[in-house]
Symmetry: C2
Subunit: 265 residues, 2 copies
């Protein structure tokens, strides 16, 4: 249902809103538009209830109902997201430094933030080829098998980290994906010590990265930046060398935030 094997859904108790968000998650995570009956089976709710809920979501533009009675994510979500992205302070401050890093290495640079158990990518800077927008931006990826994710986890206080790891369900994307909290925890402690993380083809075979953690002082944003590329071009030795520029860029981003947002944060 979700290419990442992860869901953003969390059965929180937010009353009416919470129930509706579960539905929205259901439809947006599906691979294709869903029929009423499909959703009925997935949601396990009385028909009348479900029908009214879907109607409300459609009326608000969060879902769309086509001529064949299939529900798809609504375009109003795009408008919300465009605004959310355009004014995100963290991203705005980071952007020039991501570009510099891309220029210096010639490889793709990412910026991601931890939200729940997922990393949400806020920006991506590639080389020449025109970026397919949204290709990566906005995507939620697992935190336990991405460089940015592990870098972000290394920022958590011990207790929160253990709690988060306890709630993870591991999917083995490649042969080197972590599949237990123990080995992951060990690596995260190491990352916390050295200040940078690798992705050794753990999410996608043939793809490696080096990442460094970045955070805002109020801990609203805990994430990382990474340099990503094909394993044949990025030897582990090269990635070790690049751990320096990534960390430097991360430092400059955090300095930028202090200047721009004031010392209070």
């Amino acid at each position: 249902m979700n290419s990442n094997g992860e869901s953003t859904a969390q059965a929180r108790e937010t009353g009416t809103l919470g129930k509706l968000m579960v539905l929205l998650d259901l439809v947006t995570h599906a691979d294709a538009p869903l029929r009423f009956t499909d959703i009925l089976a997935l949601a396990g709710q009385p028909r009348g209830t479900l029908h009214r809920q879907l109607t409300h979501l459609v009326e608000e533009g969060l879902l769309e109902l086509d001529g064949d009675g299939r529900y798809a994510p609504g375009l109003r979500l795009l408008d919300f997201a465009a605004r959310s992205w355009a004014r995100n302070e963290f991203r705005l401050i980071a952007e020039p430094h991501l570009r510099d890093l891309q220029q210096a290495t010639g490889e793709t640079v990412h910026l991601g933030v931890l939200r729940g158990q997922s990393i949400i990518y806020l920006d991506k800077v590639e080389g020449r080829q025109p970026v397919r927008m949204y290709s990566q931006i906005g995507n939620a990826s697992p935190c336990y098998c991405t460089g940015v994710g592990k870098a972000a986890l290394s920022l958590l206080p011990a207790e929160s980290l253990v709690d988060l790891l306890a709630g993870l369900s591991f999917t083995s994307f490649t042969a080197s994906t972590h599949i237990s909290a123990e080995t992951l925890l060990a690596e995260i402690r190491e990352i916390a010590d050295q200040g940078y993380a690798f992705d050794r083809e753990e999410h996608e075979a043939g793809i490696r990265c080096v990442a460094a953690p970045v955070w805002s002082e109020d801990r609203t944003f805990m994430g990382g930046i990474s340099i990503t590329g094909p394993a044949y071009r990025l030897s582990m030795e090269l990635l070790h060398q690049w751990s320096v520029p990534v960390q430097l860029a991360a430092g400059r981003i955090m300095e930028g935030m202090r200047i721009r947002l004031g010392p209070r944060r």
Copy 2:
């Protein structure tokens, strides 16, 4: 508050969800993160009520609350949008044709869809410069002063069109922006006859475009594609010539939809 002078908000009666969406609109349309008291003034609700509503929105990740007590759009919106965009059938089918059109003309090509009184841009294909993602995609623009918007309006049945125009409030972005329903209606009738529309620097001074309408058979998508560029490079004569390739591309997109989605739609 909104750079377009437009709002996507519509005071529908969707109970609890509707009220929460008004709040979400408020925060996402603001130019900067808002404090509790700011929202209190704007929303005009009792403090207790507002507080709980905001808490729910934050718990669901639709809003975020930073260390200074300021509310900003939540990043979960990005995840939703990324999914909404990645699988949008209309966009997927249109994409190769947009590229062709961009190649043929060398100018920027847009795909937009009518939603309420706004055009939501689904895609944008530019020339060499790496696209700043979300730069245009997802943005909601007024329908009455954009090429895509007027092309989309030309698809509406007479009655719906009149209703929609009656509800518009016109903002004079440039000297040539339509500021009355009468002149706009006249032009839209003309557009419906000839099958293509111009934007004669009506939204932004110095920017012109030619657009052609595109729609799905079930009328779920009523929008258009356009070629846009600076007035000094795009003479009205050239735009008249380009009305042919835009219409051809529009035709191919619609043909593609019929093939891909089956004859039933």
